[in-house]
Point group: D2
Chain length 341, copies 4
């Protein structure tokens, strides 16, 4: 059993903790946070399924006043784990790294940190092997993680050499008030970092892209134009590959999956905790061929999509499985991915 801790019990941290708890070969030692946020209050109301540790600077009396049990300090947590999953606010992870180094534990950072924080910029399918035994991994961001699932899926089977993407980005998570956009589409300077990150991890592909922020909260939509390295990839071929992938859910408009909010609603109706979905959605009705290119649209559930690849990262850095195929398969088994087929 690999012992795992989570730093930062926010949108991502809560889901990382849940994901670790589902892995039969990992043990969630606890989670750490700074203040009695809504997430921490919910943890308390649920009866403390996870032990809570306090990071430096936390005011323990605020937790005591709410009868929230505290299991120790951040270093207490770090000292008990093999690997920390760090989902602290952007920039804090880099500071935490010094503590991890001191304690001699490995760590996996989320996309908000700079690439330089880690030895390997990691994706469970695209470069699992690079992460084997590494001390510090950084996960790709939510959009890049989902995008690369689909591109790697086509690339592995048919070969891809060029990709152009348009990211229709959700601007906030449900419950966010500190950021938002009202009746506006906002441009980002091109190329989008997701295209650049894809080339970083898959250097044999030339990629570019444009990102536009939109005032919604339930998942990004990305359109992908992919050029077949060995000639055109047909819609039939693409569908076959996508349907075999355990982290891609092929859906159809005609079945009622009208957009990003349908996938959110479906995940709620499935009874998934928080209405989360680990899979990206991929619309069968969006796939079109044009020349040697194939174009399609995917949905990225931003709150939960990086959880599986982060767990892959634990497997890689702890050498729990030797390659992408076996590593991702273990994660998928414990998360129940692919069993809907």
């Amino acid at each position: 059993m690999i012992n795992v801790g989570v730093a930062g019990y926010g949108v991502i941290g809560q889901r990382l903790a849940d994901g670790v708890a589902l892995q039969g070969d990992m043990n969630l030692v606890g989670v750490a946070d700074l203040a009695p946020t809504l997430s921490v209050r919910a943890l308390k109301e649920k009866g403390m399924p996870y032990d809570l540790y306090l990071v430096e600077g936390a005011d323990k009396s605020a937790f005591d006043a709410l009868d929230i049990p505290v299991s120790g300090t951040f270093m207490d947590l770090v000292s008990k784990v093999d690997v920390m999953l760090d989902s602290s606010p952007g920039g804090v992870g880099a500071k935490n790294k010094e503590l991890y180094e001191k304690a001699g534990v490995k760590a996996i950072f989320q996309g908000g940190e700079k690439n330089s924080v880690a030895d390997v910029f990691f994706h469970g399918y695209a470069n699992y092997e690079k992460g084997l035994g590494a001390d510090y991994l950084k996960l790709t961001s939510c959009n890049t993680t989902g995008l690369m699932r689909s591109v790697d899926c086509l690339d592995r089977k048919y070969g891809v050499d060029r990709v152009a993407i348009t990211i229709i980005r959700r601007v906030a998570d449900p419950g966010d008030y500190h950021r938002g956009l009202t009746n506006a589409l906002q441009m980002d300077k091109a190329p989008s970092h997701q295209a650049v990150d894809l080339m970083n991890i898959m250097p044999h592909i030339e990629a570019t892209g444009i990102l536009v922020h939109t005032p919604v909260t339930h998942g990004h939509i990305i359109t992908v134009l992919a050029h077949g390295r060995n000639g055109k990839i047909t819609k039939e071929q693409a569908l076959e590959a996508f349907k075999e992938h355990d982290r891609i859910r092929v859906v159809r408009i005609e079945d009622g999956f009208l957009g990003n909010a349908s996938l959110f609603r479906y995940a709620r109706d499935l009874g998934n905790p928080r209405g989360d979905m680990y899979e990206i959605g991929l619309w069968e009705d969006s796939i079109v061929e044009s020349g040697d290119n194939i174009m399609y649209a995917i949905n990225i559930p931003q709150e939960s999509v990086t959880i599986p690849e982060t767990l892959d990262g634990v497997r890689a850095c702890m050498r729990m499985q030797p390659d992408s195929k076996s590593g991702t398969a273990a994660t998928n088994k414990y998360l129940g991915l692919g069993k809907w087929r």
Copy 2:
């Protein structure tokens, strides 16, 4: 054990089924629907925790093609139950009533039907006793249900004789595409039906109100100005009453409950199925006194708020408990309401 069926497995029907399944003294016989909607597909993917029956006009081959098991016809379901919870689309309930009459089963309709469909226009707290033994009840709508919880709570303890409300209404549910509003606030002709409905059920109170639709999906907010029949109700008194109520959750902006989306997020973090909440939220920081009036704001989780009162309706019409106090207490116990305190 009272046998219960659900007609219409949509936004409300799913939640009614879940609610019945939690009641230790009720048995959910099954649910009925017309087509393999997303909700029905999710039921299938979850392994059919509830038996599915098909209403007249359903194309069984469409269900067969998806390997969705069907347990019989709508009349098969009706013949096995004591009471039907009808959450069919507006107007269909009235037609279904003929079938219920033929089969001699009781039924409880949701707010979308006309009042004339039922013998009693029902609210678990405000007029439970009127529903005792009745054959056909109609529940108040989501806004009225939540609003009346708070008004009845003050009225019971301190006396209320006048109410003026402003309903800031969510315009769609998460996952809706057939209705929506973009960058606009839409007026309804005054007075709002919710004020009229309140007077219908609580005729000793004079009420009026204005409703404005807003482009959000996570819960209505209602401001309530209430006049004390026996002099001013103070903030302290109001808070005391609200905090004792099992279906009212008193929250504070300063704790992070910034608006309707915070309550949705909190319910997701609690692990509640679908991120639902049965309680209305009531902001402590919104309560203000002015003259003999007290003013406060509540949050109505439109998808799930009527479930407890519908279950109260089963208890009343089946004479499972003799009065509001014992009836609502039984519902609350099985739903786990009030235990967060």
Copy 3:
């Protein structure tokens, strides 16, 4: 001719400049700003109808690079005017006041400044006479300005002693990206400052209220419950008073004025510059009586609603007209208000 300058050529400043330019007895000397914002670029593209001065800290070379003519420094502008209309960002006005004092010019500040910046907290209808000859006025905020038009209108004719409001607030202006809200309603701590401000200016009225932010950009909606000091104000009486008011536009849902966005569209279709409207909208179909109270809903076009009252302020502080009636009438004549009847 009274010479007027405008500090801050943003959302409000542009409209103040346009409003002054329409007054037959005022002369717009110029406007001042810090950087070549979109508004300043538009001024240039329009051919510089107004002279531009640069506030301290401005980089003149940035304006030169865009061939934007500059007429002088902020103090150059101040030295040429009788009164400055200060619509600088919140807090800057207080600093500017020192310059105004040094130059011996009067100034009118917008709602973003603290009350202490001014000698009189001013509203053209409700307390014009207090502003007579004053050196420093502060205008009420957009919501308070529009709200007080309607309350003063009823109060003057029939007497009002209690008011309770619910403000359904737009969260951003069209074109804003620095603030916004996505799929959420956000609570403010009660009572809202608008209710408090109303009592400040109309101390014979007891007021309270709750404000909720909504994700729209085209105008606030406020519901008002007003209690008649001398008995009930009927719908008929209220309508009569509202229809006589030059800054209130009575509209009806049945005519197509469905909400705040209809009024914005109508103002665009009228050909009003920027699609602005100086009048508040008041829905005839929203007026309802209840007990001794009357309730109604108004629309506040936040970008332009304070312009007339600011011009009233110029008239008061410069003693151009001796009282509210003649002062507001002069402003209305030059702005063309009331002529739609």
Copy 4:
């Protein structure tokens, strides 16, 4: 002088009328509509700058009751014109065509009609010559019109043979309540009709695309990936071509044009009637090269973008100018396009 009438005085019809009125060589005879809509009421309040005719089925007494002067019947209008601009609701134009044929007048239909209604599917730049002398033209839709400006611009100068687009579509116009979307991105079945329409008019280009609806009202954003027929088109080359185009406005994020709402605000600040803009916006910061492709993003002001090309259509079908260059130049001159440079 060419005599022109407008059928349907709604969002598009109002702008067509304004556009015709600006052309020095056209005479606007009048506009026709069915009911006293908000647009017609605004026409009245403005003092009837355009004569109003009533289409069949209109209730004249409704106009009389509002003192709206009526100049005659639809056929009265048709009998006085050389060409009708038909912006009736979708489908009505096809019926009107019979009247136009009877009267022997030409007509230009908007994008809502079926292609079969017209002899030529028309775009002022891309196929002006096809429209010469034709009796019935149909304009491309708003998105296609703007998209083709940019593609034709590159194609004319450098050659383009493949295009892939992602349309981030606004779902409603400001003031719409009959359609809308709340917190959702909605997929359309691929390929988008705009890509198909482009191939229809520019058959030497292979095009595909995906369209996603977003909950905003101020202009679509389209990303375009274009492949150079004669090798890569560089960013420098593309910019040079775009900056020369009178109906393309090149803007930059760093100058404050952050998204679609910035362009709307800028047009308002310019004092353009209704805050309209005839030009598409094109973000310089969005242009990126990748392989032999160039990618860029444009903004489509949906309410007004088709006006210039419709006026081009009048010029073509009436043979006012012999070719695209002279026809579009005449339209641009009268609309003042290009003079901002």
